[in-house]
Symmetry: C2
């Protein structure tokens, strides 16, 4: 069993609705209310103790920041601006009042900085801390950036050096992702496709290529974060940079690096240094 | 620590936004996109193993049904019609492929019956199964039913007999809630305030009274579910009937029972049989 297996089983049963112009399979769902000039986008992300963080190495402020940053990164990947969020959190007995205050402080600091209002949520308890944040954003009608619209000949870009989260993990340190919201807005009308890098370049680029029905060839040089190996840059997760494609004639925004080209071929097939590249990023259900 | 303590600490820090016409504190948040005739409502509810269900007594279909029904009940309480949902689920090693199939079958059957499209979600793993569903619905502009608008002199109603979930729990059986969506729509323009009964009449009525700044006096007779005691009807959680108030001159829909009256007094103070009634429903953080 893996995530793809589960998603492919659920998708045909999910139902349809005219207002829902994009459903399962992208960074966000896209909802178009009748009469509006704006599309609303929605994403939900869990953050679970001993999966996404550890109480021993992460401060409560860092965990709160990370819980919201993951969702905001999806909003950025759609070219949207965040509007509000809903927070569900199940607390364990290890979460003191001081811990809870720190968690909300970290989360609400990032929320205030990005204009994201906390609109509601749910409280519960569990053996380990488990939280889930739904974030909603808005984008001008029909301008959301999708992952299914890359075309052969488009160039592939990343928004910054890769592997920083893998380096931090190895060193027992914390990588605090900063959602690329300004860049996402800049990419409207420029990028042909976009998504965020949550599970590693190889895995996420493969998903973008499968969704778009294309292949990709990566350059030999990939921008490396300080101390990162090429393996960490290709397969390390949780960098939360943006991955996007654009026609060759469009100028990429400052700070973005061209890392390859979209080509015709088997959907999802990747090439690196002239050889096939296997997706080796993170999968919650793969035993490896 | 209890839920109310936590909510009262978070609320002043949640931020504000013109489009968000109702935030923390009601069954749903209400969002008004510029230019629309419809308000969108949003709710999120966790369902956690050994808190809300047990693998040994609940079938996967029942758990899937319950996960979505909790959110749909909040949509009903706002007088809204469901549009879509997002499902986050962390699976444990105890969740087989067969279990997962059953869970989605139960959830998607209720989704199809109520017109709720599954628009996306997140997958993860945890020690115990933990899921969180965000549901969105729509209601004509400015017609959402709130819990903060009850007035002295209004009568108090419930949508059906109470205590069924408590009776089922005691008997080791499963109570499958049926969200009162049709009734919620009927109550638009009739009810002065509404919410759903998730944590027990005494606790939920107290919340409605606190939000509205009023007191309430309950009748001696409360409609009892088959086999339920008055204690179970007053304090038992998870019935997911609707609790609403309406001016005395309005006729209540069929099947609803008048159970008391909103009166002036200390916000949240309840009276039953001429004596003060303490809220003794469910609180995730109260040790009792």
């Amino acid at each position: 069993m893996n995530e793809q297996w589960l998603i492919s089983r659920i998708t045909p049963l999910a139902g349809k609705r005219r207002e829902l112009v994009c459903g399962i399979g992208d960074d966000c769902a896209v909802y178009r209310a009748p009469g509006t000039r704006e599309d609303l986008v929605f994403t939900t992300d869990m953050l679970i103790e001993d999966v996404h963080f550890r109480m021993s190495t992460h401060s409560p402020e860092e965990i709160g920041h990370k819980a919201l940053a993951r969702g905001l990164s999806d909003i950025a990947a759609m070219g949207a601006e965040p509007k509000f969020c809903l927070l569900s959190i199940a607390l364990s007995t290890a979460a003191s009042k001081k811990w809870i205050d720190g968690f909300y402080r970290g989360m609400l600091k990032l929320a205030a900085r990005t204009g994201t209002v906390l609109a509601g949520g749910d409280l519960s308890h569990a053996l380990e801390i488990c939280c889930d944040i739904t974030v909603s954003g808005a984008v001008p009608r029909n301008r959301a950036l999708l992952r299914s619209t890359a075309k052969p000949g488009d160039l592939i870009y990343v928004s910054g050096p890769l592997g920083a989260a893998a380096v931090a993990l190895q060193a027992g340190k914390v990588h605090l992702p900063q959602p690329r919201l300004e860049l996402g807005v800049q990419l409207r009308g420029k990028a042909s496709a976009a998504m965020d890098l949550s599970d590693g370049l190889s895995t996420d680029l493969q998903r973008l290529c499968v969704a778009s029905g294309v292949s990709a060839a990566l350059n030999e040089d990939i921008p490396l974060a300080a101390g990162a190996t090429i393996e960490q840059a290709l397969h390390g997760g949780e960098d939360y940079e943006l991955l996007f494609t654009a026609p060759a004639k469009k100028k990429a925004p400052a700070g973005c690096t061209m890392v390859g080209e979209i080509i015709e071929g088997k959907p999802g097939a990747l090439r690196y240094k002239g050889k096939p590249l296997r997706a080796r990023g993170y999968d919650h259900f793969k035993k490896s």
